[in-house]
Homo-oligomer: 341 residues x 2
DNA sequence: TTAGTGATTGTTAGCGTTACCATAACGCGA
DNA sequence: TCGCGTTATGGTAACGCTAACAATCACTAA
C-alpha cells in the first residue's frame, strides 16, 4: 500500500537508484533529473521506509530507554534529558516503562534488541536485572545504567552518591532534634534502596544513635508503598518523631496516610525524602529533600552511550557519580526548634 | 555482528527456514529437530531481527504516540493508558515529545510513518498540525486525535467537553463571590484554549458579567507562561479577585509569581485551573480544578486506533467526548465566604 | 581519429526474514 | 512392487532499500 522508491522511480522515469540518490542528497545527479524526481516524491507523498534502510545500512539511529516509571517526577526529567541529547546526535529514543517489573523489563530489552537499537539506557528494576544484562554485556552491546547499580555487572553508569545523600538527610534530622527516626526503604534488591539505608545507618552512627530494625520499613517505592508503610509505622509506640522515606512517591503516600489519621507534618512528625517533586516544590515549598539532577542523569547517560556506540569509549567502564543536594524546607523542622513529643 | 537466523541454522545443521519455523512456533517440525534448534538459539543468544521481519510481513505491531509534554501531569497518565492498552493488543508504543512545536511534531510524524507504525495517536500541537495530517488522512492512515481538535480535519478523536468544564469553573468562581475574574488562555491556535475561553465567556454571560478583554491574557501553557501572564496581570488596577488558568502548569507558574509578590492564595486572590496535578493533590489538596481523566484518554484513544487499524471502524469518524469533573478544593473560596478586596 | 576523462545513470546483489512451492523420505494398502 | 498421501525439510523469491560496480554518453587532448 505505501509508496515505495520504485513507484517514485517509475513516475519520474528513472531508476530506483537515482531516486535513492536524490532522497539521500548524494551528488552526481543532474539538476533537471533531480527536479523531476523531487516532483514525483512530493506528488506521491513518498516517505522512505526506515526498516528497509536500516536493514541494509545496519544502523537504526535509535537507542532504547527503559525506566521504572515515566510518571515519577524524578524520571520524567531523566527522559527529557536523554531525549534532547539523543536528538542532537541525530538519534531517536524508544521509551519503555518497566514498572519496576523484572519480567516486563526483560521483555522490553528483548524487544529493543530485536528492533536493533544501537544502545540501551537502563534504569534497572533491581539486582536481578543482571540476568537480562549479562548476554548483552558479553556481546559488547552498548549499555549505560542510570540511577541504579547492578552488582557484579561491569558497565558504564550514571548514579548519585546515595549513601552521602541519605547520610546528609539523616544528620539534618538529628541536627534539628530528632532521635527516633523511621526509615521507609525499598526492597533489598535495589541498589539505591540499600545505599540510602546505609546512609541512614551511618547518619545515626555518627551521632551514636543506635539503629533499630523496628524503625525500618521495607516497602515499594510508589505512593501505595509509602501509604502502607506509614500505616504499619503508626502502630509503633512511641511514634517516631520523623520519617525518612526512600523516595518522593513513598513520601507522598506516607503524607496521605498521616493526613488521614489527623497527624500533621511537621507539627506532629517530620518527613524528609530522596528526590524532589518538581511541580509541588513550586506550589508549596514544603518537603525537605535530597534532590537529584534528573535531567543531568539523562543527558550524561546518553553522552556516555553515544561514546560507547561510536567506539570512542575504550574498554574500561566509566562511572559518573553525581552530587545530590540537600534542600531544606519545612517538613521536618518545627518552628519551636523541637519536634513534638 | 549480531546473530542471524542463518547462524543458528548452521549451528543446528538445518536450513534457515526450519529455524524460522521453530522461532514462530509453526507446526510441522520434528521434535528432535526442534530441540536442536532451540539449543542453538539459546547457545547463540539469537534474537530475531524485527526490521527484517516487519519488512516482509508488512506489519510492525507498533503505534506512535505524540504528546506536547510527557512531563505534564495530565499527559503522563494519557501515555500510561495508551501503553497499557497497546500492550494488551500486542502492540508497542513509540513515544514522542513534540513540546508543542509544529516543526518538531511534523518531523516526528514523518519519522513514525517512516518507521511504518501502523497507526498514530496524536495530541496535536495546534490547528496548524492540520498540514501534517492531511496527507495521512488522504492516504487512509489510522489516526486518532487526543485532547485537542483540529478544525476541518475529519478523524477519530477523544476529547473532553472543555466549554462545559470551563463554564462550570467560572460559575463556581462567581458562586463564591468573584466578579472580576482573569483568564490566562492558550494561543488562539489550540482548540482546548479556545473552548475554555468560550466556557469562561459563557460562564460570565449567564451571570450577566461583562467579559473584558483586559482580563484575558494569552500565554503559553507551561509554567513560565503562567508566571509571565501573572506578572502582566499584576499591573492591573484594581486587581482581579480570581484567576482561571487554561491548564495546570500555567496555574503553577501563576502561583509562583504571586508568591514572589507576597500575594497569597486564596486569601488575596482565588486561583482555579483545568487539569489536576496528581501528586500535588495528595500532598496538599489545594487547587480547585476541572479534572480530566487522562488514563481514559489514552486507553480509549488506543482502542479507537486499533479498531481503525483492524478495519473494524467503518468510514465515519468517531468522536468521544469525556466529562471533565469539577473538584472544589481551597484555592478560590476564602473562609470568610467573601474574597479579599 | 581514438583513446581517455568525467559526469550521469543503471544493474546486480544482498541486508534478515518469511511465503510459497518443491522435494525427499516414509509408511501403507493393493 | 507400485503409487499415494503424509510429514519433514529445503530452495527460491521477495519485502524496500543502498553499496558497489558497470555502462553510457559527451567531450577533450593527442
Amino acid at each position: 500500500m505505501p509508496v515505495t522508491l520504485r513507484d517514485v522511480a517509475q513516475k519520474a522515469g528513472v531508476s530506483a537508484m537515482t531516486v535513492s540518490r536524490v532522497v539521500n542528497g548524494s551528488s552526481g545527479v543532474d539538476a533537471e533529473t533531480q527536479r523531476r524526481v523531487e516532483e514525483a516524491i512530493l506528488a506521491l507523498h513518498y516517505i522512505p521506509n526506515r526498516l528497509a534502510r536500516s536493514l541494509v545500512s545496519q544502523q537504526t539511529k535509535t537507542i532504547g530507554l527503559i525506566v521504572p516509571d515515566v510518571v515519577n517526577p524524578f524520571f520524567a526529567p531523566v527522559v527529557r534529558g536523554a531525549e534532547t541529547t539523543a536528538r542532537k546526535a541525530g538519534y531517536r529514543v524508544l521509551l519503555c516503562n518497566s514498572e519496576g517489573d523484572l519480567r516486563l523489563e526483560r521483555e522490553y530489552i528483548e524487544d529493543l534488541v530485536s528492533h536493533r537499537v544501537e544502545g540501551l539506557l537502563l534504569a534497572p528494576a533491581g539486582d536481578h536485572s543482571r540476568l537480562a544484562l549479562l548476554p548483552l554485556l558479553k556481546g559488547g552491546f552498548p549499555l549505560v545504567l542510570l540511577d541504579r547499580a547492578v552488582p557484579e555487572t561491569d558497565c558504564d553508569i550514571v548514579i548519585s552518591d546515595n549513601v552521602a545523600g541519605a547520610k546528609k538527610l539523616t544528620e539534618h534530622l538529628i541536627a534539628v532534634g530528632h532521635r527516633r527516626i523511621a526509615h521507609f526503604t525499598d526492597s533489598d534488591d535495589v541498589s539505591t534502596g540499600r545505599d540510602r539505608l546505609e546512609g541512614y545507618r551511618q547518619g545515626l552512627a555518627t551521632s551514636g544513635i543506635p539503629a533499630s530494625d523496628d524503625l525500618i520499613f521495607p516497602t515499594t517505592t510508589d505512593r501505595m508503598g509509602g501509604y502502607r508503610a506509614a500505616q504499619l509505622m503508626l502502630e509503633l509506640d512511641p511514634l517516631p518523631t520523623a520519617i525518612f522515606t526512600v523516595n518522593n512517591m513513598t513520601a507522598l503516600g506516607a503524607m496521605q496516610a498521616l493526613r488521614e489519621r489527623g497527624i500533621s507534618v511537621p507539627e506532629d512528625i517530620g518527613l524528609v525524602c530522596f528526590d524532589d517533586v518538581e511541580h509541588l516544590a513550586v506550589l508549596s515549598p514544603f518537603l525537605t529533600v535530597v534532590d537529584q539532577p534528573g535531567e543531568t542523569f539523562g543527558s550524561l547517560g546518553a553522552q556516555l552511550l553515544f561514546e560507547r556506540i561510536s567506539g570512542k569509549a575504550g574498554n574500561r567502564s566509566r562511572r559518573i557519580v553525581l552530587q545530590a543536594d540537600l534542600i531544606v524546607r519545612k517538613s521536618c523542622c518545627v518552628n519551636t526548634g523541637v519536634p513534638a513529643r
